[in-house]
Amino acid sequence: MLGLKKKDRLVEQILASRRVVFRCFCRYALILPVAVFIVVFLVIPYANMVVTSLRPFLSAGRIGHGLTLANYQKALADPYYLKVLGTTVLCGLITTATCLLLGYPIAHHLAQRETKHKGILYAIVLSPLLVGAVVRCYGWMLLLADNGLINSFLQYIGLGKAKLMYNFFGVLVGLVHIYLPFMVLSLIGPIQSVDPTWRSAARTLGASGKRVFWRITFPLSIPGIISGSVLVFLLTVSSYIGPILLGGYSVMVTPMLIVQTILSGVNYPLGAALSFVLVGCIAIAVILIFRATDKLLKGVDIYEA
């Protein structure tokens, strides 16, 4: 009798533990495909890149054994590489700032006013996303080229030619156009979440339209400014097509340098090292942004919590 009961209990325990296993399996089974995909196509290649960046470079296409920091030394000490990195970061900062300056009024308008043309405005803002970056850059090339539309017009009215492309300016124009929608989309939500009664309340307390904006709307949209800026900065410093098409090879940025190192120099270790230096720079920039805005966000965080 007693033995049977014991056995029953054992069976029950086994069944219970099986149920737990099954439940765990169910929970993780859905994530499994993505997890496998990420491990195979992201984690392993990255790990491989880390290792590659530490291998000595023998000659084109040949990677030696052993570990060395020589590639990082070169990536961080070579004045040319540093200059390229500087150009990349500068390009990223200017593009981000320009996108913010241009995007904020658009987002503000789209977020607040009940306009009849809201649909059309959205379409205009988002249209760059519908066309690939290459096509967009070619579009800009038609406008900015030495014998393009703008220069033809300038010549027609007798102002002569201006150098608009294959320089820093051309690259910036292209990048701002490509990444502006990301900034606008990041800003709309937070601006929309600024309760209109806060603005009404500020007005009843004597604040002019300008003051209401700088004291209420703007500080409360800082989360959007941060996320939009981080997003645009990340996308800009890692962009390749814009700089190569609109800058020619006169504006060298790190992604172009990496591609050149790998494809022309067939120097995989240095290419990998350059990539990680870029990632490091991005990480530092993002951390700095979050640090700088931490204090500003104090109250905002509380209201979102």
Binding site: W198, S200, A202, R203, T204, A207, R215, K298, G299
Partner: protein, 370 residues
């Protein structure tokens, strides 16, 4: 301090008429309530007075000054919003100081004034907190403090207590009222809660679909409503269609009740001109009646109706009866908790002439069924 005068205010939103010919006179230091169901235009009226909306027609005066087109930021007002509208990114101190800073008050003075007003609303020491760290009642008091710190001429309150729980709301009613009385600020108080309006307001303007039906002190509004919807909205009322049979005096008339098919007539009080044969509404408040045994003696100047008791509900402080007249018309009656009449028993419903009030029939029959 100032009087407020609103004349023939109109406001439309696209095709929807929000405010339709509203006129109000508010004297210095008075607290007037705008009472009405949601969507009746009371908040829009308030926002027009605040300068947050521009009226399509009409004039608004603070004292002698025409402020119709003066925007909110140039008016000397304080306003409390239903959701308090505290700035979430600013501390309580900075919230309250906001209005003083826009007015360029010196720093030392700001500190003094903010501390003073926070003490008035019993929130001393909470200045460095953020709004979300405060309870609803505390937030409401911060909103009140913020609107009062600039010592405005006019205080506008838009359902300031609607988001509080019942108990706190009751406390805050008296608190808000006593602060207003101490400061003597001319105040407009928007609410949909009639009990709140009764407690707080010197006078109440009852609004329906964009227009003011009646302005009067709480007692007038309750005992002598001028329209059916006012009678229906304020408290409980039995409303029975009737016809004027004869006029007894300036304030007494005899009514025929066709719907009740009564042999008897009812004598009721009225104000203003009535003519024989005119269709009117008879209003009887449930607490203005008494329910007795059939053979009870009737006093002088009292109407009495034979009824049957349908239901009886014990509500603690009152007994809520539904009684049926001979032809099946149901009336509500409230009696003291000790006065038990059996369900199903015939009874005599009696009410003095002064508790039967004659209303004019509304021009537009928009009365909601209660």
């Amino acid at each position: 301090m100032a009087t407020i005068s609103v004349t023939e205010l109109h406001k439309k939103f696209r095709d929807v008429v929000a405010v339709d010919n509203v006129s109000l006179e508010i004297s210095d230091g008075e607290l007037v309530g705008l009472l009405g169901p949601s969507g009746c235009g009371k908040t829009t009226t308030l926002r027009c007075i605040a300068g947050l909306e521009l009226p399509d027609q009409g004039r608004i005066f603070f004292g002698e000054e025409d402020v119709t087109f003066v925007p909110a930021e140039k008016k000397d007002i304080g306003m409390v919003f239903q959701n308090y509208a505290l700035f979430p990114h600013l501390t309580i101190f900075d919230n309250v100081a906001f209005g003083l800073r826009t007015r360029k008050v010196p720093r030392a003075k700001i500190k003094e004034r903010v501390d003073e007003v926070l003490a008035t609303v019993h929130l001393s020491g909470l200045g460095q907190r953020y709004p979300k760290q405060l309870s609803g009642g505390q937030q409401q008091r911060v909103a009140l403090a913020r609107s009062l710190v600039t010592r405005p001429k006019v205080l506008l309150l838009d359902e300031p207590l609607a988001n509080l729980d019942a108990k706190l709301r009751e406390q805050m009613r008296f608190f808000t009222r006593s602060i207003q009385r101490d400061l003597g600020t001319t105040t407009i108080y928007v609410t949909h809660d009639q009990a709140e309006a009764m407690v707080i307001c010197d006078r109440i303007a009852v609004m329906f679909s964009g227009s003011v039906d009646q302005v009067g002190n709480p007692r007038e509004i309750y005992t002598k409503p001028v329209t059916e919807r006012v009678a229906d909205f304020i408290g409980l009322a039995n409303l029975v269609p009737a016809r004027v049979k004869s006029l007894v005096s300036d304030c007494l008339c005899v009514l025929d009740i066709p719907e009740l098919e009564l042999a008897e007539t009812i004598t009721a009080t009225h104000e203003g001109q009535l003519s024989t044969g005119q269709a009117v509404i008879l209003m009887i408040r449930p607490e203005g009646t008494s329910l007795d045994k059939v053979d009870a003696e009737t006093e002088k100047d009292v109407n009495s109706l034979p009824v049957t008791v349908k239901t009886r509900t014990f509500l603690g402080n009152v007994l809520d009866y539904r009684v049926e007249t001979a032809n099946g018309h149901v009336l509500r009656v409230e009696e003291g908790p000790g006065k038990l009449v059996e369900v199903g028993a015939p009874a005599l419903l009696s009410f003095p002439y002064k508790n039967a009030w004659t209303l004019l029939v509304d021009m537009d029959k928009t009365i909601s069924s209660s």
